[in-house]
């Protein structure tokens, strides 16, 4: 088997429950290297739970998650080494400078300060933030903080980038800038991307789409395939149709049980 045949991320019959509430139900999907995959779902669909399981914040009791072939359960460390993560919450130290934040992150991945600093400057230059390197994070705008978080996630040169609602709370320009940047990373550097969002217009024409609703995968594939399979005109219509049909099924099921 050649290296390219191994998916960047492979999720296989993954379920997770918080007490009685089933957050994820038999989720199966895969992302190829250098693929841009949008995980589309409303709030509460299970996106953050999925991210928490992939990043080993909690343990998956059932199913498998593999990052470039490394099961996160059995081999968490090689799996984590391939991962760059941008969490939904802001996770920078506000009182530390941009560069200090990045050097700290580098240290967490074993990068000596000098090397981390060089890479940080590279990433910041690419994001147009290098002149802010010495500023405290507190002074940055929301969009700039997000870009710093992306720079941080890329510092240890991961091959799979996870972003959990990265554009939440940002204005249109910042949003577009971040979307463009991540698209470039995908195309030019062969980075695989899993982009979780509830904003349908963040699906790019070339994206793979996974529609997650109430913990279940309703559809997945290239954008146009998903639209065609749902018998819809565009991705927005496809998403509404799929989620509505799913709610109807649930409602019918409950009515039958009653």
């Amino acid at each position: 088997m050649t290296a390219t045949a191994i998916p960047a991320l492979e999720i296989d019959s993954l379920s997770h429950a918080f007490g009685a509430r089933q957050a994820l139900d038999q989720v199966t999907c895969a992302i190829a290297p250098s693929q841009h995959c949008v995980l589309l779902g409303l709030n509460g669909a299970g996106k953050t739970t999925l991210f928490s399981l992939i990043t080993r914040l909690y343990d998956n009791a059932s199913g498998h998650i593999r990052v470039f072939g490394h099961d996160v359960r059995c081999q968490p460390r090689p799996a984590l080494r391939h991962l760059g993560v941008v969490f939904q919450q802001r996770t920078l130290d506000l009182d530390l400078s941009v560069l200090q934040n990045l050097i700290y992150h580098g240290a967490l991945h074993g990068l000596p300060a000098g090397q981390a600093k060089r890479r940080a400057e590279e990433e910041l230059t690419r994001l147009g933030l290098v002149e802010r390197a010495g500023d405290k994070v507190r002074k940055l705008s929301g969009g700039q903080m997000r870009r710093v978080e992306i720079a941080r996630a890329l510092l240890h040169r991961p091959r799979l980038l996870l972003l959990d609602e990265p554009t939440a709370g940002l204005d249109m320009d910042s949003r577009q800038a971040i979307m463009d940047h991540v698209q470039h990373l995908c195309r030019d550097q062969g980075l695989a991307v899993l982009w979780a969002t509830h904003l349908i217009d963040e699906v790019l024409p070339s994206s793979q789409v996974v529609v997650l609703h109430l913990g279940r995968v309703l559809a997945q594939g290239a954008r146009d395939e998903v639209i065609a399979a749902a018998g819809a005109g565009d991705i927005r219509e496809a998403f509404l149709k799929l989620t509505r049909d799913s709610c109807a099924t649930v409602a019918t099921g409950e009515a039958t049980q009653a």
Partner: protein
């Protein structure tokens, strides 16, 4: 979906040097954060100094402390309680680190720590050592001020006490870490004050020698003798006079191991409290 037959090789595994880089990074960040919180530093110093300047001065005449090891002469009450106050600095620091871990968890920066590819026991231990380093800074500044207040242990004591401070700081930090895994919200810190810090401090040998307690209340004496904080205080007290209190060392080392082991387990995704509860940020976030 079939399992792939081979996994793509990860970049080379962390070498010992990389562990050092990681440890240094964690300590460095904790230090920077501490320097940015000047109020915290001042509060950490004012607390024991108030005890030393006011409480000890007031009680000096009431409480006579007779000659008992490690002291070779009668000592002033200030001198007696100094090691207890040092341990108190570390106790507060340990709990404050635990507070910052709850905060980190709520703010998500605990997440960035835990997605590091280094083993989790190492990350948590490094975090603990970072807290100890900060407490050492506070303790030595306290010693410096106390010197002017006639609390003057032998000069060599200042060096001899260092290993004792590291291990007692580890014990109290590990306790804080264990508590942090069990606390759901920041607001519960007041509860820690009431139910952990105060009982631990007062029911110990920090303010009064155990033999004196035995005369007045055998029960209280027994409680104090069960309190690990008592042993941290005694370890520091003896070390400050260039002696090793082996019992105290044994108890503190054992408690450190137990607390740290439990804390690492609590932060283990497979077994810990976090998994059971639904993890940072509260259960079941979409």
């Amino acid at each position: 979906m079939s399992a792939p037959t081979a996994a793509i090789d990860a970049p080379s595994p962390p070498r010992p040097a990389a562990y050092l880089v990681c440890l240094r990074g964690i300590v460095w960040r904790e230090g920077l954060r501490f320097l940015h919180q000047r109020e915290r530093f001042v509060a950490a110093l004012v607390r024991p100094l108030v005890w030393l300047f006011i409480f000890a001065a007031g009680f000096r005449s009431v409480l006579g402390v007779s000659i008992a090891p490690p002291y070779e002469t009668y000592v002033l009450y200030e001198v007696y309680i100094a090691p207890g106050l040092v341990a108190m600095v570390q106790l507060f620091n340990g709990m404050q680190s635990s507070l910052s871990m709850v905060y980190d968890r709520e703010m998500g920066s605990m997440r960035t720590l835990l997605i590091s590819p280094f083993p989790r026991w190492f990350l948590l231990t490094a975090k603990l050592l970072a807290g100890v380093a900060v407490s050492l800074l506070q303790v030595y500044v306290f010693f410096a001020i106390a010197w002017f207040w006639d609390v003057r242990p032998p000069p060599l004591g200042y060096f001899a006490v260092l290993p004792a401070l590291i291990i007692s700081g580890m014990m109290l930090g590990a306790l804080g870490m264990l508590l942090s895994s069990a606390i759901k919200q920041l607001e519960n810190f007041a509860g820690i004050m009431n139910f952990v810090i105060f009982p631990m401090f007062f029911a110990s040998s920090a303010l009064y020698p155990l033999w004196r307690l035995a005369e007045t209340s055998p029960l209280l004496h027994d409680i104090c003798a069960f309190n690990p904080f008592t042993y941290a205080v005694e370890l520091i007290r003896f070390a400050l006079y260039g002696q090793v209190n082996w019992t105290a060392l044994g108890v503190v080392a054992a408690c450190t191991a137990v607390f740290l082991g439990a804390a690492i387990r609590a932060y283990d995704p497979a077994k810990g409290l976090i998994a059971r509860r639904g993890g940072p940020g509260g259960p079941g976030r979409g």
